[in-house]
Amino acid sequence: MTAAIQVNAVEKSFGNVQIIRDLNLSVAKGERHAIIGPNGAGKSTTFNLISGHIKPTSGEIRLNGEVTSGLRPFEINRRGLSRSFQVTNVFARMTVWENVRCAVLWATGHRYAFWKNVDTLPEVKQRTAEILDEIHLSHRRDVPAGLLTYAEQRELEIGITIAGGASVIMLDEPTAGMSHAETERAVALIRRLTEGRTLVIVEHDMSVVFGLADRISVLVYGHIIASGTPEEIRGNPKVKEAYLGEEVE
């Protein structure tokens, strides 16, 4: 079976500084995969590489078997990969409803159509309503996204990410800055919405990571030092030394 995401020997340098060294990562279809690592390890850079936000200096990235390194983000998105951002990245002046609807349009095949009335497309309407329902923002549908509370914006961020129906979902620290109760809510939401899809998640909250992930990869200084099930990672001495310390006990 081809992996959903296959990263082979990827390197990334910014000038003389090498951020990612010999990165190898394989995420199976349907797997919930968490990437953890200390600050500055290159987790967000890894996300940016896979989603096409930045191009690798060398190496190869495959999405469902197809080479995607070198493609633009929208080309990768059309091939079935969708990501969220660590810093909330929504369409601030548009309403919640419009935010989600925009994310639905390409996937429903409407592309750059300038001859269709967007308000009367039944499948767009239905899908947008479903997503809003799922992220519990139906009651806020006419509020500009910029006026939402922080937790609501994070939920909208996830809604936009999943709206296109991508088979691979990448979430960059979805619970960052949330309270304990909000985190629990968000995790339940993520678990439900990524059912049957492949999930790659970067997260600092270890309870979220170990509760959610089927497999975990540990990234240190731009290199993956270990990859395995939560139990394997917990017991791995290299990981303990480099990152986890006594925290997981």
Binding site: F74, M94, L105, F114
Partner: protein, 430 residues
């Protein structure tokens, strides 16, 4: 906060008959366009209405770029002017070959001219938004404007190229010689263009234009290439600018290099911004006001451009949403029924604000006419520019008006806060 029961704004918005009121607005606009020349039938007002109509199309086309897609163009008059030139050339060709093309179809030719130019230069221009786009648009604007003086066979040099709108075949007995017939031709195109441009905002492309305006980076991650979106927007803006240019050519029976220049590009930016770019109808208000001021002020004062500048700076600083923004801010208060608590403070503030404005005007005119010129007449009172009494009154109005206005506007802000709080409690304000 998240779990607090929020009064549903959606429920407040969905009033019965909203579709009726939507079509009602368009119908009202159409009726107004038809009736206007019957109410104000003088030749002067017909000319003004014609120019305002053209300015409305032009400003709306500009807002496809600025308000809808977030592209700040300093060279929008290029498409407008080229549309005008193409229209003039086609009109002359139609007349000399006796082709069966009536005059009302000519603005379409202008639109095609504007769109064609946009298709050619647009792909490179829209690669980047922001400063890069603004600079390239400025460069292209200057390039075309200056080459229009060099390529005499196409642009006719400084004198331009003339045409005769009555030389085309008449339509239903209309020769389009009289200004009233030209007015109705323009009014027809205003209606068609405005509806088309509004409809464009309600399409998938139109919505994605807004998304590109708000956050081009994120658009790439929902499957869209922002470059293609900007390119489409640029083409549509070019088309409708060309329509406006074609109408100008019909109206004046001439196209010259002034149509293409930076002044024209600046005026349309003015109109869109003063009217308010965040709402579809904003540029319409701006076009009406700016054209009206332009026509009205030139006969009253020689430094009318100075007043434009002051109005523009005032809007940028105190009401970046433009006139439409100011109006729409009141909507939740009207809905919540709290507007009447604000109005008295407005009326109080109006008096010193007016005094302040008169102070500014008197100061400007005194300076402008100090070394000669017509005597100043303000509200029917004559002032002598060289008299110390005039200077004193200007200073008193200026300083006194400013100080008192500041206090009264603070009162307005307080009254506003109270009204907004009530509106928020009643669920009409997010």
């Amino acid at each position: 906060m998240t779990n607090a029961p929020t009064p549903s704004i959606a429920a407040a918005k969905q009033e019965p008959g909203s579709a009726l009121s939507f079509y009602g607005v368009w119908l009202l606009a159409a009726v107004a366009l038809v009736v206007l020349p019957m109410v104000f039938s003088s030749g002067g007002s017909l000319t003004s209405f014609s120019l305002i109509g053209i300015a409305i199309i032009f400003a709306l086309s500009y807002n496809i770029l600025l308000g809808q897609t977030g592209l700040l163009s300093f060279g929008h008059a290029v498409q407008y002017g080229l549309g005008g030139f193409l229209a003039v050339h086609v009109m002359n060709a139609v007349a000399s070959h006796n082709w069966p093309i009536p005059l009302p179809a000519i603005p379409l030719v202008g639109g095609i001219g504007g769109a064609a130019f946009a298709i050619v230069v647009g792909w490179v221009m829209t690669k980047r938004a922001g400063t890069v786009f603004a600079m390239i648009s400025l460069g292209i604007g200057e390039l075309v404007a200056s080459s229009s003086l060099i390529l005499r066979s196409v642009f006719g040099g400084e004198s331009g190229i003339t045409t005769d709108r009555t030389s085309l075949m008449p339509l239903f007995g209309w020769t389009f010689g009289p200004q009233i017939q030209v007015y109705y031709l323009i009014a027809f195109w205003v209606m068609v263009s405005a509806i088309a441009m509004y409809a464009l905002t309600r399409t998938p492309l139109g919505r994605i234009c807004n998304a590109v305006r708000d956050n081009p980076e994120r658009v790439e991650f929902i499957g869209y290439d922002p470059h293609v979106v900007r390119y489409f927007a640029y083409m549509f803006a070019g088309f409708f600018a060309g329509v406006a240019g074609g109408l100008t050519a019909i109206n004046f029976e001439i196209a010259n290099s002034a149509y293409l220049g930076a002044t024209q590009s600046g005026l349309v930016l003015f109109s869109a911004f003063i009217g308010g770019t965040a709402y579809f109808f904003g540029p319409i208000l701006g076009a009406i006001l700016v054209t009206y001021l332009q026509l009205g002020l030139t006969s009253v004062t020689s430094v009318w451009q100075l007043y434009f500048g002051i109005i523009f700076i005032g809007i940028v600083m105190f009401a970046p949403g433009g006139i439409a923004g100011i109006l729409m801010k009141h909507r939740p208060l009207i809905r919540a029924g709290t507007l009447r608590t604000v109005i008295p403070s407005y009326l109080v503030a109006a008096i010193p604000t007016l005094a302040f404005a008169l102070g500014i005007i008197l100061t400007i005119e005194t300076v402008a006419r100090f070394s000669g010129g017509d005597p100043i007449k303000l509200l029917g009172i004559p002032f002598v520019a060289t008299a110390p009494t005039t200077w004193a009154s200007a200073a008193v109005l200026f300083v006194g008006g400013f100080l008192v206005a500041r206090i009264t506007w603070r009162r307005v802000a307080e009254a506003w806060d109270r009204a907004a709080t009530v509106a928020r409690d009643r669920g009409y304000l997010a």
